[in-house]
Symmetry: C2
Subunit: 152 residues, 2 copies
Amino acid sequence: MELDKKDRLILEALQADARQSLAALGKRIGLSQPAMSERVRKLEDAGVIEGYGARVNLRAVGVGLQAIIHIETTHAHIQKYVKLFETMPEVLMADRVTGEHCFIVRCAIADPADLERVVDTLAAHGSVTTSLVLSSPVRKTVTIQAARLPVK
Amino acid sequence: MELDKKDRLILEALQADARQSLAALGKRIGLSQPAMSERVRKLEDAGVIEGYGARVNLRAVGVGLQAIIHIETTHAHIQKYVKLFETMPEVLMADRVTGEHCFIVRCAIADPADLERVVDTLAAHGSVTTSLVLSSPVRKTVTIQAARLPVK
DNA sequence: GGTGAAACGTGCCGCTG
DNA sequence: CAGCGGCACGTTTCACC
């Protein structure tokens, strides 16, 4: 789908606040409410907008810390890891990457015992290197998905 | 703020779809619409909900690839890097971490030339190690913020 | 829980390329 | 003539009491 200037403005505005009304959105962009409705629907149908999410403060749901864990393993274990990630609520994001590591995994950690458990679990089929997140100077909006909220 | 079971359900539901109506939300949770309205407002005021964002398909906005770049530098350059990140639209996320690296940075890349430019820029005050993202088996919802959408 | 106000979806018409 | 935006209407949803 081809995006024009107004589509980009709409995406910007919806990322800043996805719950604003179509009328407000229209006012900001310079379009009527029905026109906005139409454009947003098209962006959704074309898959440009994949959905809308709330940005939840992780500290408020008991996640005091995040860890970025690098995993090195052999090709034979790749699929096992993918399945493992899916069962772990602490795993916020897992990327398969090029380079000496196979996966880079971001985890939500409640406390040191939690971290230990996560590291031990992930070390099952490979070796792990753990970095703790001290601060996140840039964070262009990470939301964790509903079903995976770590249970407190 | 203390979250009860229903608050957690609300957070889940809003992360799955932030644009659903309060009435629909209430039906799902088992609360009246005014009660929902009140709860959501409190979650917002308490900072548990930090905002609402659209999840945008990065490919649709011209980002074909992501790279995770590790930066090693000396303490004197930390602040310079933070400022640098903020000026770079390609930087989606930057975390300061413990371990041998100082920063782990996730970048949105349009094409190889773009990657080269980003790497060169980031290598200004330290040394970088680049990993390309092949796939993201788990991605509990990353949205990039409006103002930083890479211009195509 | 109820009520006034605001938002949403739809159908129709006019403009423009 | 096709695509897109504006206007007006009925319906739903919201905020406040």
